[in-house]
């Protein structure tokens, strides 16, 4: 068996999710190659070559891939991937965008968002927003798979010494072009891979009050998230949303502040190691999944938390 992992990156650095996907590839078993597609991606390719367990890094460096347009990536990955038994990518917004195109071009099914590998053709994935867990067997010769990064512990980022090979394949479908982007600027860790996440819900009342959470987050080196209710209410931008349709997180510590715990939100964070809930409504469903629950007014509890943390950190 031979597995092609599509690297997740931003043209300058390799995202940790790639290491989680390589771990899923190791669980399947076989030679693992990594494809780095982007523009001016020398540093990304070098980082990918050092990842544990990688056999070979393939590099497609061209302006056509610079913005990860699905139309171009889909054609590239379908062409490069047709010699492999498995094609894997992280189930982030980039992988979710281009991977189904790859599957359709190869006339095979895609298995989305796997959290466990049972064998080389059988995978476990959540359905119904995590309310049911399905074990699925794929019968196609090439398995196209997106991997939920939190389902797999990452391989080591250092220690490997894969060869790096430049590909001379340029696929520009000419169907789409990049217009612009608005990326949230933040010095805090990435939500999807942070060790500690502190999230606010509708109980925060407005966007300004999220500053309280940011101060606590900065003390702990945490990322800041939000429930769908807080995003829909316009308190914070959409990329902070944790839940079925937002980001799936599984940090060591998840602190839910003013979040009632709708099933949609629980689907995005219930694999966290330790869950803390702060909510004034003691009947809130979030307490049913919380390891430590504090029934309190968040506007008193969060400043106190900041003070207490200053004493111990």
């Amino acid at each position: 068996m031979s597995i092609l992992v599509i690297a997740e990156h931003d043209n300058s650095s390799l995202k940790q999710a790639t290491l989680n996907v390589v771990a899923a590839a190791k669980a399947i078993g076989g030679d693992i190659d990594v494809l780095v597609a982007g523009e001016n991606v020398g540093a990304v390719a070098e980082a990918a070559a050092k990842a544990e367990g990688v056999n070979k890094v393939l590099v497609a460096d061209n302006a056509a891939y610079g913005h990860f347009l699905a139309e171009n990536l889909g054609e590239l990955v379908a062409e490069v991937g047709k010699g492999y038994s498995h094609i894997l990518a992280a189930a982030g917004t980039t992988g979710k965008d281009f991977m189904p195109r790859v599957a359709a071009l190869l006339d095979v099914a895609q298995v989305s968002d796997i959290v466990r590998v049972e064998s080389d053709d059988t995978f476990v994935r959540p359905i119904y927003a995590g309310n049911a867990i399905a074990t699925v067997k794929a019968s196609d010769a090439i398995k196209v798979i997106t991997v939920r990064p939190t389902g797999f512990d990452p391989v080591a980022a250092e220690g490997g010494s894969a060869s790096v090979e430049q590909l001379d394949v340029v696929k520009d479908a000419g169907l789409s072009s990049f217009v612009g982007e608005e990326k949230a600027q933040s010095d805090r860790p990435d939500l999807a891979s942070a060790g500690i996440v502190i999230s606010g819900g509708r109980g925060m009342q407005n966007g300004d009050n999220f500053k309280m959470l940011e101060q606590v987050a900065d003390l702990m080196g945490a990322a800041v998230g939000a429930s769908r209710a807080a995003v829909d209410a316009g308190f914070v931008p959409n990329d902070m949303q944790v839940g079925q349709t937002g980001k799936i997180v599984a940090p060591q510590l998840y602190i839910a502040v003013g979040i009632s715990g709708a099933i949609q939100h629980l689907a995005g964070m219930s694999d966290s190691k330790v869950i803390v809930a702060i909510n004034k409504d003691e009947e809130a469903p979030i307490f049913q999944v919380a390891d430590y629950g504090l029934v309190a007014d968040l506007f008193e509890a969060v400043p106190q938390l900041e003070e207490e943390l200053k004493k111990v950190l």
Binding site: P126, I133, K311
Partner: protein, 249 residues
């Protein structure tokens, strides 16, 4: 321009999902069904394009059993002009759904196809992208804004880390995210009018597509339940537990 909207009949999002005791799937017997929430947003977007004078006709298509006509009628009551029901009692997976929709696209030749980004049952997030690839169209997935501009459409997408805007040649495929719009409710007069709107039924065989699932579900289980923990009295106790018991700070 003509807009094609695909909608799916799924379990109502308010219904508590229960796994069948024999682990063969989710219990859908006597459970309330509804239009997939992301598909409602797709219908709404098409109706708004028509209200702006950008869309001239909205065709709504659904794949599924006879009962899926309920969801087509709902879309007609919201403002779609006519319906196509691809009737089958088989389980249709994303790739076959995309092939069926491709056949409809070839016949109807819409300028824009709008779908929900994922259905809340299988959570696959595949069909729109597969349809775009099979028809050679560009795609604007996870859309939070759609602006048609001559022979192009600009789609602002919700991506990891923020928003990204792409320009696509028409015809194109758009898949909706939650914040694209807030769907309206159908009024009673419109529900009555929708009953008279045209609705054609076809079979997968009529469209030349064979339903041959590539994925088989071996079992479906309930997720491991998380145990509720303890309540702490105050913040000081919370921090003490996190530091000395859970050892996560």
């Amino acid at each position: 321009m003509k807009v094609l909207v695909a909608v799916k009949r799924v379990i109502d999002y308010n219904v508590k999902v229960r796994v069948k005791p024999d682990n063969t799937g989710v219990d859908l017997a006597n459970v309330k069904m509804a239009m997939n929430p992301f598909c409602e947003i797709a219908v709404e977007e098409a109706v708004r394009l028509k209200e702006k004078g950008v869309a001239s006709e909205i065709v709504v298509v659904s794949i599924g059993p006879k009962a899926a006509q309920e969801q087509i009628r709902t879309a007609l009551a919201l403002g779609a002009d006519r319906g196509i029901h691809i009737e089958t009692d088989e389980e249709v997976q994303s790739l076959e759904a995309a092939k069926l929709l491709k056949a409809v696209v070839e016949k109807e030749e819409p300028k824009l196809v709008i779908l929900g980004k994922q259905s809340i049952d299988s959570d696959n997030n595949q069909t729109g992208q597969m349809l775009a690839a099979l028809t050679g169209m560009g795609q604007g997935t996870f859309a939070s804004e759609v602006v048609v501009d001559g022979e192009k459409v600009n789609v602002t997408r919700e991506v990891d880390g923020g928003l990204m805007t792409v320009a696509l040649n028409l015809p194109a495929v758009v898949t909706t995210d939650l914040r694209l719009n807030e769907p309206r409710y159908a009024s009673l007069p419109n529900i009555m009018k929708a009953k008279k709107k045209p609705l054609d039924a076809v079979s997968p065989a009529d469209l030349g597509v064979e339903i041959a699932p590539r994925l088989s579900t071996l079992k479906v289980e309930a997720p491991a339940a998380r145990q509720a923990g303890i309540k702490v009295a105050d913040v000081a106790e919370l921090v003490d537990k996190l530091k000395n018991e859970a050892k996560v700070i």
